[in-house]
Symmetry: C2
Subunit: 623 residues, 2 copies
C-alpha cells in the first residue's frame, strides 16, 4: 500500500473513531453526524485557544536551522511570539549592526542553529539560559533568558559543524558540541585519500559562566573520523557520562547516501566526562590550535563504543538515567540499552573488539530490549508515565511505547516526515507530559500555498490520555531541528533595563546629550524618548548631527523611556543602518560618513502617537 493511500485510509479510520467517540460523548444531544464532527473539532479548538489577555502555559524554544535564529512559540496556542537573533544578523532589531553585536557576529552573515539546550539544575530546566550550536560556521551561543538577548558567541576550532546539540550536563557544568563533519586535525589541508588517518571527529566541552552570561572552551576530545549526531547527557544514575550517536563509521568521503550505509552497525560513544575533566586537569592533553585536546585512545578508561543499528539519528537518556535509547534510522526498531549493564561490561572488559583504539562493548551484554516501532525512527522523548515517544520519519508517525514493557501503545499520524519531537520538559529528569510537538520536515498541502518553497510544519499532540490525539498544526519557521518546551513560570524576564548611572557611553537626561569631536572621530552621546531624539542639548537643532565627509560618527544612544514595551528604533535613511534601543538600554552604532548629503534619522519602531515626528538629521557636508 503506498503512503498516500495509507494516509487516506487512516484518515478515514481516524474520523470514524472520532465520530464514535463524539457519539458516546455527545450522543444524548441528538446531534446529527455533521454536528458531531464539529463537536469534536470544537474540543480541539478549545484546547489550543488562549483568549486575548491570557497567556500560554509553556514556552517552546525551537531551533531556527539555517535561519540561524531562535524561534520562541507559546504553547498550546503555537503562536510565534518572537524571533530571537542568535547566529545571523537581524535587520529588525539591528543585531549585527550596532558595534557590540557586530563584533559578536564577527562577519558571519548566517548560521545553522541546530539544537537548543536550556540550562539545567539537577537534571531539570532552570530557565536561566539557552545554549545553541551552529553547524554552518562552528559556533556556540549563549542566550540569556532574562532578556532573551544573545550575550556570547564562541567560535570553536578543530571542528566542522557541531551538530549534536549544545546538550548540557545535569547541573550545566558543561555543554558538549561534537562535530558532525570530521576535518583534518589542526586545520591543515589534507587530501580525502588520507581521511582515515588525518581527519578527526572532535567533541568540544564548553564551560558556561552563568554569572557573566559567557562561555569558554574547557577541553576537546579527539574521536575517530565519523559523523556525530544528536546526543544526550546522562542523569541521576548515569550522571557523569554522556552519549553521542555516530554514523559514517565507514569513513566514506563521497556519495554518503550509499557509502555511509554499508555497515550493519554504527556506534554510540559513551564518555565519562568527569574522568576526562580530571585527566585534562592532570595535564593529560596536547594543545591543538590553542585548545586542550584529550586523546582517549592514549588514556584508556574514559570512552567506550556501543554498537547500534545503522545510521542512528541521536541517542536519548531516559528520565531516570538508567537507560539510553537509539534508533538506527534505516532499521524498523529502536534499541534500549541498560546503563548498569554497560558499566558491568566495562568492568568485566566484556568487549566485542575495538575501533580506532576505543573498546566496543558487547552488544548483547548491554542491550535491554529492541522495540519494533516502525519505519525511520529518529528521536525519542518521554512523558511522566514511563512512556517514550519516537518519531518515524518514513511512516510519518509518532509512536508511543512503554519503557518497561517495550510494547507499542499507539501511533499518531503526523503531516509529514517528522524529524525531531519535543514533549513538555520531555528530555529532562522530570518530564511534564501533557503536550508533544512533532517537528515535521515536509508540509506539502497542509497550509495555504506560498509558492515552491514551503514552510515546515508542527503538529501538536495531546499526550494526556492512553491514546495520543492530534489537536492542531501550525507552520514553523525555517528550520526547526530540535525544540524544548519549558513551563512558563520558570522564565523570569527583565522588562526594563536598569538605569545604570555608571554605564559606559550612557546619558540619562536630554539636557546632558552632547557631541564630542576628536579629529575626524565624532562621538554623539544622545538620548531617545517619546517622541524625540536629542543629540546635542546645546544646539538650536538638538536632533541634528552635522559632520564632514570622511568623518567617523559614533552614535551612543540611550533609551531613557524606562517603560515596558517602549523600544525606539534608529534608522538612518539612505545610510543602510538601523538598530533598536530597548527601554533603558544603551547601544553604539559606528558610521563611516563617506557619502555627503542630507540623511533623515527616524524612529523605526513605533513608540507613540507622535512616532512619525520622532526624526532628526545626519548632515554630511561635502569635502
Amino acid at each position: 500500500m503506498n503512503a498516500s493511500l495509507t494516509k487516506v485510509l487512516s484518515g478515514i479510520i481516524g474520523i470514524a473513531a472520532g465520530l464514535l467517540v463524539a457519539f458516546l460523548v455527545f450522543g444524548n444531544t441528538g446531534s446529527s453526524d455533521m454536528a458531531t464532527t464539529n463537536k469534536q473539532n470544537k474540543s480541539n479548538a478549545e484546547k489550543v485557544y488562549v483568549p486575548p489577555g491570557e497567556h500560554d502555559e509553556y514556552y517552546m524554544m525551537a531551533s531556527g536551522g539555517h535561519s540561524g535564529q531562535l524561534f520562541v512559540y507559546g504553547l498550546p496556542s503555537m503562536r510565534l511570539i518572537r524571533q530571537v537573533p542568535v547566529f545571523s544578523p537581524d535587520p529588525a532589531t539591528g543585531y549585527g549592526f550596532d558595534d557590540a553585536s557586530k563584533e559578536m557576529l564577527n562577519g558571519y552573515k548566517w548560521g545553522d542553529f541546530h539544537h537548543p539546550a536550556i540550562s539545567e539544575t539537577e537534571g531539570e530546566y532552570d530557565g536561566r539560559a539557552l545554549f545553541a550550536s551552529d553547524v554552518g560556521n562552528n559556533r556556540a551561543a549563549y542566550v540569556d533568558l532574562e532578556t532573551f538577548h544573545t550575550t556570547d558567541i564562541l567560535e570553536i576550532p578543530n571542528v566542522s559543524g557541531p551538530h549534536c546539540a549544545a546538550f548540557v550536563t545535569p547541573n550545566t557544568e558543561y555543554l558538549f558540541l561534537p562535530t558532525r563533519f570530521s576535518v583534518p586535525i589542526g586545520g591543515e589541508y589534507a587530501e580525502l585519500d588520507e581521511y582515515s588517518e588525518k581527519y578527526k571527529g572532535v567533541m568540544t566541552a564548553v564551560k558556561p559562566d552563568v554569572k557573566n552570561k559567557k562561555m569558554d572552551i574547557a577541553f576537546q576530545v579527539m574521536l575517530p573520523p565519523w559523523a556525530y549526531d544528536l546526543s544526550d547527557a546522562g542523569k541521576k544514575l548515569s550522571n557523569g557520562w554522556s552519549f553521542l550517536s555516530t554514523y559514517n563509521t565507514e569513513e566514506a568521503t563521497t556519495t554518503l547516501e550509499i557509502n555511509a550505509s554499508q555497515n550493519d552497525r554504527d556506534y554510540i560513544v559513551m564518555f565519562n566526562w568527569k574522568q576526562i575533566a580530571k585527566e585534562v586537569k592532570d595535564g593529560n592533553f596536547t594543545e591543538v590550535n590553542g585548545e586542550k585536546m584529550f586523546d582517549p585512545a592514549k588514556y584508556p578508561g574514559s570512552v567506550y563504543l556501543v554498537p547500534v543499528p545503522k545510521s542512528p539519528h541521536g541517542v536519548d537518556v531516559t528520565p531516570d538515567g538508567e537507560h539510553f535509547i537509539a534508533s538506527g534510522k534505516l532499521s524498523p526498531t529502536t534499541s534500549m540499552y541498560s546503563f548498569e549493564k554497560a558499566l558491568e561490561a566495562i568492568e568485566k572488559e566484556d568487549f566485542q573488539g575495538e575501533a580506532k583504539g576505543l573498546p566496543i562493548l558487547n552488544y548483547d551484554s548491554v542491550i535491554d530490549k529492541e522495540v519494533e516501532v516502525g519505519l525511520g525512527p529518529l528521536h525519542t522523548q518521554f512523558d511522566n508515565n514511563g512512556n517514550a515517544y519516537t518519531t518515524l520519519f518514513i511512516d510519518s508517525q509518532v509512536v508511543k511505547w512503554n519503557l518497561e514493557s517495550g510494547k507499542v501503545i499507539d501511533k499518531a499520524e503526523v503531516a509529514y516526515s517528522p524529524g525531531h519531537l519535543a514533549a513538555v520538559e520531555g528530555d529532562t529528569a522530570n518530564p511534564g507530559g501533557k503536550w508533544l510537538v512533532s517537528l515535521n520536515k515536509i508540509a506539502k498541502d497542509q497550509y495555504l500555498s506560498v509558492g515552491p518553497s514551503h514552510p515546515e510544519s508542527m503538529d501538536l499532540v495531546d499526550i494526556t490520555g492512553e491514546k495520543m490525539e492530534l489537536v492542531a498544526n501550525a507552520p514553523s519557521q525555517p528550520e526547526p531541528h530540535y525544540a524544548q518546551i519549558i513551563n512558563a513560570d520558570k522564565i523570569k524576564t527583565t522588562e526594563v533595563m536598569d538605569k545604570d548611572e555608571k554605564r559606559k557611553n550612557a546619558v540619562w537626561s536630554k539636557d546632558e546629550a552632547h557631541i564630542e569631536r576628536d579629529g575626524d572621530e565624532v562621538h554623539v552621546y544622545g538620548v531617545a524618548f517619546r517622541s524625540r531624539f536629542v543629540f546635542d542639548a546645546q544646539s538650536d537643532k538638538p536632533d541634528v548631527v552635522k559632520v564632514k565627509e570622511g568623518d567617523t560618527v559614533h552614535f551612543h544612544m540611550t533609551n531613557i523611556d524606562r517603560d515596558e514595551d517602549i523600544t525606539h528604533g534608529f534608522g538612518i535613511n539612505g545610510y543602510n543602518e538601523n538598530f533598536e534601543v530597548q527601554p533603558g538600554e544603551t547601544k553604539t552604532l559606528t558610521v563611516k560618513a563617506d557619502k555627503s548629503g542630507t540623511f533623515p534619522i527616524y524612529c523605526t519602531n513605533f513608540c507613540s502617537a507622535l512616532h512619525q515626528e520622532m526624526t532628526g538629521y545626519l548632515l554630511v557636508e561635502p569635502k
Copy 2:
C-alpha cells in the same frame, strides 16, 4: 477615568454581555455560569480554529517594517505561514547570498517595508503581484504572488523614505510612492536653513510590468517640502485621481514633535494622475537625476490641496470612490470629503488660498461630514455594508461608524495602540466584510514575556454582526505597518518550477553535471536531488569540488527533484555561505576561495531520510 480602569470596566461589561448572549444561546442546556463563560470562549475558539489538513480562508499580507520582509499569515487562524524576503537578506533561503538576489539587493543589509499593495483589476485585488515600499533605503519591490519571490527591486532617486505605500491605481497602471522626508532636490547637499527653498517632497509614479514581473519609474511629481503619509488611489467615480495626506506643512526641521504640530490644518493632496501622465508624455517635465520631474506649480490644473485637521496619518477612499476620509491624529474627529464637491470646487475655482503655488480648495465646500470617532484616529477600512472602521491610537480602540449617517455604531477595545488596520479586501471597490485585524503597536502584557523587546500584536475582530467582537489575538513579527487581506482563492501559486531545458546554467541530469575551468574561474554545473549533490559526473568523487586558493568558484546548482516541497539547501561549512534551490530551480553562488582547507558542503534544508548524508566537499588547496 484612567485608561486601564476603563479597560477593566469595559472588560467586565464585555464579559457580562457575553454571559447574556451565552445564556440566550445555551441557556436551555442548564449550564452553570462558569460553563457558560467557557461556551463563549468555545465559540471564539471555534471561529479561529482551522483543523489539521484544512486551509485558512484568507491570506493576510503584512508589512514587516524594519525587518524589511513580507509576512504572510493565514486567516482566521492568524498562523504565520511564511516570511518572504524582500528588502533584507535572508540567511534561511539564501536571499542576498546567491548571485541574482545579491545583485538585486545591491549591498543593502536592511529595509523598512512599510506598505504592501496587491495588484488590482477594476479596483479589486487580482492576486498577481504585491508591491512594497522601503522607507529605509528608498526602494520599491515587486513580489510575484505565483512564486512568492521578489522579482524586482527599484532604487528611487530624489526621495527619502517612500512611506505612503506603494498604493496602486484600479488597474495597476501605476503605483505611487510619495516621499516621507523631503530632501534637497537633485541630491546635492543643502543646509537646513534653506529647507523651504531647496528641499522638495517628491511623489514617484512607478509603472509595473506584470508580464515580466518588473517595474520602471514613469515620472516624478515635485511637491512642497512636507512629509507625505499613507495615501490612496481613487476608484470608480474618482478613478484617475489619487490622494496623499501630508504633515509638517510647517516645514519644521527640528523637534518635529512640537514644531510640526503648530498649524491647525495640514492638507490632502489631490492629484489627477491621468492628466499628469499626459503632460509628461507631452514633454512637460525637466530631467532630475535621470527622472522625468513634473512641476504642478508650473502646469496648473493637476494638483490641488484640501485642508485636513492637523497631522493626519493617511487618507482612505470609500469603496464607491465617492468620498475620501482623513483623520487628523491630534483631533478627535475624522473628516469625510465629497469627491464630487471637490470637482465642483475645482471647476468654480472655489479656493481659500494657495500654498507653494498649489490651490487650496475651500474646506467648507468639500467637506461632507466630520465624525466624532474618538482620540487618535489613524486609518480607516470598509466593510460590505456601508460601514467604516477607524483605529484610535490613543483610545486603543477600533471604532465602527456608518458612512451614510456618520453615526458611531460600536467601539472595540484592542490591546494596545493600534496603528493600521486591515479588513477583508477592505480597501478595494468590493470589501468582503467578515474579519478585521487591528495592527497594534504595543503588546505590553498580552503574551508570554520575551524580555524588554516585545512583539507587536494583532487583534482579530469579527465584523459580521452589528457589534464588533474581539475573537483572538496573536503576536506579529516586526513591524506591521499596513496589511491587506485577500481571499485565498485569488492566489494561484506554482509549486514546482518548469523544467526549462534552455535555462542558462541549468543541468537537468546527474550524468551531465560537470566542472569547467577557465584560468582561475571555476564553473560547477551541478545538480541536487534526494539525497546527493553531483558536481562532476566523471569523477570518482562526484560530490567533491577541488580548487586552488585564490580561485573564484561559481556553483550553478539545479534542483532536479521536481516534487512539491522538496527544496534542497546548499551550505558551505566555514565559508559563510548558504542558499536554497527550490524544486526545479537553478541558482548560482559565487565564492572567492581565499581560504585554503577542507570545507564540507551539506544540504541545509531537510529533504529526505538520508538528508544527513547529502554532503560533499569544497577542497581548497593552499597556494
